[in-house]
């Protein structure tokens, strides 16, 4: 019953994330990349990265963040399913009265969520201690009802019903938490020596409040099933029937409800009515379901009560066949478990890099031959927890193997860089570049000199041909002769001379401009080549300077890391095998238990069939003997 209570509470609780433990307020981080990243990963649910950054922050050895790092570390550890370590850290924090870095309200919230986490992990004592640390005066109003609900439940676990009652009464009656609280009160009454009317009142109160919850139908089915089972178990068939009749026919609780409903009707001598839910259960659900298995033997039992002995005989034979089949199926599952075909396919379909207690195990099982059975086993919380741990180890193992591949790549990078440096040294790129630059600069200077000579006069006379030079000289001569003539010279001579001279000079100036354009573009090409050569030299120089540092020291570090990874992988493989054996052990034990139950049912069915056969035959014999007499 204790476990039923736990399941009831698990159902009631809403999942919280590890980061909720932290104060719900923005913290200024003043451009500390490492701390900022740690915070980012922590709040975005990447607890592995957050914890890694936290370790790095601690290594940096700065007491700037103080106890916040403890809180971050414990939070990430909770997120990664490292509950023991997290609990130790939190217990150390609990010994302090106050955090210096948070306000009363945030402190209350942190303690509240911390308690919630412990609660969800099943660490009841720590949860109660943490919840008692919450200051009720400072808890946020939207969390108040939830706070009283958890405290009530935890006090019930600790065996303090009076304190629990106080908290139940503190919950607002229209809050969804009131429903869960009354359900838990009802369940706790069933464990204690409380009068039946009080139990019924508590169940009815919970039922009347289901409308305030998020999944009212689902919860109502669950409450009705729990109440029905309790009343049937205590011999109150009518009350049981009343509750079980209200369970929806398409809910996950239907098989169990139908089975108990049938038994409750049988106890009330309503045999005909009892057959109906059992037939429904038999036809609509898998034979691997344990409630269906019980129905196989319950139906002929009921038929016998109805005096339909031939039908009962047939039903017993059918049940025996079914039990043999189920036994065989379970045997096959056990064999697959031994051959590594049972759990391994589930692990293969997990997402790489995703692990931790808030990362659900992918249980889609599309082609798994044991999916029906597995789904049934997976409803057990303990199995889920162990499977999650196994999944974590599987994912971590893959990470380690990937890391080893990465180290190989890094080694290759180091080798390539070493080769690059050798190339730089042997190719004399620097001296070759400098030589090339020297040649370019020489050519440049030579060209400049040449240009100076050619373009000496901007009138273009430097570019004149021999004939043109003679013409220019002739013009000069004519000009001097005209000036000697003085005033007697006609002005028309000078005008004609200027015209002829102008035509030649114009042509020379045109040539000068054209040539200058050509030379300028040639110069630009050369200047560009010089610039490229200079840059090349600078880059080669930098490469030459940087290359030795780019691989020096990494060889040893990589070798150390590789060895550490290999050691961890060996350790992990050992632990993985142990955990696999543990999970396998749970399944094996469960299969054996199921097989024992099926064998027992089969034996009962065979015995009953034999007895029935015997009875019907004897009856015939007695009738025949009587007739003969």
């Amino acid at each position: 019953m204790r476990w039923t209570l736990i399941f009831a509470l698990m159902f009631a609780s809403v999942s919280a994330h590890a980061e909720d433990l932290l104060p719900d307020e923005r913290r200024e981080i003043k451009r500390d990349a490492l701390y900022g990243e740690a915070l980012f990963h922590l709040h975005s649910g990447r607890y592995d990265l957050a914890l890694a950054k936290n370790y790095a922050l601690r290594k940096r050895n700065q007491s700037r963040y103080g106890r916040v790092l403890d809180l971050h570390e414990a939070t990430a550890e909770l997120g990664l399913g490292m509950s023991r370590k997290a609990e130790q850290t939190f217990n150390a924090l609990m010994s302090k009265q106050k955090y210096s870095f948070v306000r009363e309200e945030t402190s209350a919230q942190a303690w509240f969520y911390m308690a919630k986490h412990f609660y969800q992990k099943g660490l009841w004592k720590s949860a109660l201690r943490a919840m008692r640390k919450v200051s009720s005066a400072h808890i946020a109003s939207n969390l108040k009802d939830e706070y009283h609900f958890y405290l009530a439940t935890l006090e019930l676990f600790a065996g303090n019903p009076k304190r629990a009652d106080e908290h139940v009464l503190a919950i607002h009656p229209e809050s969804e938490w009131a429903t869960y609280a009354f359900l838990n009160v009802a369940v706790s009454y069933t464990e204690r020596d409380i009068h039946i009317s009080k139990v019924e009142a508590a169940f009815n109160k919970a039922l009347s409040l289901v409308g305030n919850t998020r999944q009212p139908e689902h919860l109502a089915d669950r409450i009705n099933l729990m109440a029905g089972k309790f009343f049937y178990g205590t011999g109150r068939g009518r009350s049981a029937i009343r509750h079980l009749r209200n369970v929806n026919l398409e809910s996950p609780y239907t098989p169990s409800a139908l089975l108990t409903y049938g038994w409750a009707l049988t106890e009330q001598w309503q045999y005909h009515d009892a057959l109906q839910p059992w037939y429904m259960l038999k036809t609509a659900h898998s034979p691997l379901n344990q409630d269906v298995q019980e129905t196989f033997i319950a139906i002929p039992h009921l038929l016998e009560k109805l005096n339909a002995k031939v039908l009962a005989l047939g039903a017993f034979e059918f049940a025996t066949e079914q039990y043999d089949l189920i036994h065989q199926q379970l045997e096959n599952s056990a064999q697959r478990l031994n051959l590594g075909q049972f759990i391994e396919p589930i692990l293969q379909q997990q997402t790489p890099g995703k692990w931790g207690s808030f990362e659900p195990v992918n249980l889609t099982l599309p082609q798994h031959p044991d999916r029906i059975y597995l789904k049934d086993v997976m409803n057990q919380g303990y199995f889920q927890g162990q499977l999650q741990t196994l999944r974590d180890l599987h994912v971590i193992g893959k990470q380690l193997r990937d890391a080893l591949k990465e180290i190989d790549t890094f080694k290759q990078t180091v080798v390539t860089r070493k080769a690059d440096l050798n190339d730089i040294k042997t190719s004399n790129a620097l001296s070759e570049g400098r030589e090339k630059l020297k040649q370019y600069q020489q050519r440049y200077r030579h060209l400049l000199r040449k240009i100076d000579r050619a373009f000496g006069a901007p009138d273009g006379s430097g570019l004149a041909s021999e004939e043109e030079k003679q013409q220019l000289a002739l013009f000069k001569d004519v000009k001097s002769k005209i000036s000697k003539l003085g005033k007697s010279a006609s002005p028309s001579y000078q005008k004609r001379l200027r015209r002829v001279e102008g035509v030649l000079k114009w042509s020379l100036a045109e040539r000068y401009a054209e040539r200058k354009k050509q030379v300028s573009s040639n110069l630009a090409v050369l200047e560009n080549a010089i610039r490229t050569a200079k840059r090349q030299i600078a880059l080669s120089h930098q490469a030459y300077k940087d290359a030795p540092n780019a691989y020096v020291g990494f060889d040893r570090k990589l070798k150390d890391l590789e060895q550490q990874h290999k050691d961890q992988l060996t350790k992990l493989n050992r632990v993985y095998e142990k955990q696999l054996a543990k999970v396998g052990g749970i399944v094996k034990k469960d299969i054996q238990k199921r097989q024992a139950r099926v064998t027992n049912y089969a034996l009962q069915a065979r015995l009953a069939a034999a007895r029935l056969y015997d009875e019907t035959s004897n009856q015939h014999r007695v009738v025949e003997q009587g007739a003969m007499k």
Binding site: G36, L42, Q564
Partner: protein, 175 residues
């Protein structure tokens, strides 16, 4: 005599069962501890490898990184960011609900890491999001910056302009 013998036998069996139960519980506890220690070791090892990777692939002389931070901005919710470096697209990121919350609570995201040669460069960040009415908003911020032979960190900062009561977007340099 037989009664005494059977009493001894029963008590011996009870002690044996108790011992086996205790050792089973102890084995379970030690395996759990072993698993937790292993997880912690692997995480530390991963961090060492990450640090080595950073040093090897992004040497301090060429290392360049872009971070994203966001204050508790009331009327803007980031949904994605695209980065262009020297007119070339280099990375893009779409935010999950948890990541947005992480940014709001003070987290800083390392969006992009690369090697960058010394000289003048241009970073363009296109930030997509929604305003308080759910309408799509796109903001582009540009920064021209110089890179010397040392690490360069830039931050895409989304903050709240308290006077104008609206979000502000900027690229700031870490010194």
């Amino acid at each position: 005599m037989k009664a005494i013998q059977s009493l001894y036998l029963a008590s011996f069996m009870a002690v044996a069962m108790l011992t086996s139960c205790l050792s089973f519980a102890a084995n379970n506890a030690s395996l759990d501890q072993e698993i937790e220690a292993l997880k912690a070791d692997v995480i530390e090892l991963n961090q060492s490898l990450y640090e080595l990777e950073e040093k090897l692939l992004f040497p301090a002389t060429t290392s360049f990184a872009v971070f994203v931070s966001m204050e508790a901005v009331k009327n803007f919710e980031i949904s994605g960011v695209k980065l262009n470096l020297d007119e070339e697209p280099v990375t893009a990121h779409i935010y999950s609900r948890e990541q947005i919350d992480a940014l709001r609570r003070g987290g800083i995201q390392k969006l992009y890491t690369a090697n960058l040669k010394p000289g003048l460069h241009k970073l363009t960040a296109v930030i997509d999001g929604k305003d308080e009415d759910g309408r799509p908003v796109q903001k582009t911020v540009v920064a021209d910056f110089g890179k010397a032979r040392s690490t360069k960190y830039l931050e895409i900062k989304i903050s709240q302009n308290k006077k104008k009561q609206r979000p502000e977007f900027a690229i700031v340099e870490w010194k």
